[in-house]
């Protein structure tokens, strides 16, 4: 009887360990609306790229391309802000702000393995340390 109880306890311990491992293996993400990319998505994407570089997971041309893609997203987002400023000053804004924001979101998604939801205007990115 004591042996059965001991085995049950060991089994429960092992199941518990398996549960913890499952939790740690999930991918943690952050979802932001297109309007909030400047303050949330860019720092998240940059930290993600830097982590890949520090860990040695991304090197050479692949890393260089990732950084260039990020920089391109920065340039396009800067253009989007210029459009906002033009609008505030009372000017006409073309091309559309939303199309540029979608382009920026897709660039950041491409470089991090994230996803873009154009129907809800959201970008989902993996968080640093969120992928085990």
């Amino acid at each position: 009887m004591k042996r059965a109880i001991a085995l049950s306890l060991i089994l429960l311990f092992l199941v518990g360990c398996a549960g913890v491992d499952t939790t740690l293996n999930r991918t943690e993400t952050v979802t932001v609306s297109f309007e909030n990319m400047g303050l949330l998505a860019f720092p998240t994407a940059k930290a993600f790229i830097q982590q890949k570089e520090v860990n040695g997971q991304w090197t050479g041309d692949y890393l260089l391309n990732a950084k260039r893609t990020y920089n391109l997203a920065v340039d396009r987002y800067s253009q989007a802000i210029d459009l906002m400023k033009t609008s505030i000053k009372g000017g006409v804004t073309t091309p559309s702000l939303s199309s540029i924001l979608i382009e920026v979101a897709k660039l950041l998604a491409d470089v991090t393995g994230g996803t873009v939801n154009t129907s809800q205007n959201t970008l989902t990115l993996p968080k640093v340390g969120g992928v085990k």
Binding site: G38, L39, L64, S78, I81, M84, I88, G90, L97
Partner: protein, 56 residues
């Protein structure tokens, strides 16, 4: 204000601006003081993002 409160305030500002931008004449609806405030904050965000570029 806490960092979170500041972030939420700025985020709210950007949402507002995005709504305004959808109207071509949005600028006409703002006072000069409001325009200055929005432009200053947009400049800050733009500088913040631009400074995050990788040196490649």
């Amino acid at each position: 204000m806490t960092p979170l409160e500041i972030e939420l305030a700025i985020n709210g500002l950007i949402v507002l601006i995005n709504v305004l931008v959808s109207n071509i004449k949005a600028g006409d609806k703002l006072t000069e003081e409001q325009k200055t405030m929005f432009l200053t904050r947009l400049n800050n965000i733009q500088n913040l993002v631009n400074s995050s570029k990788f040196p490649v």
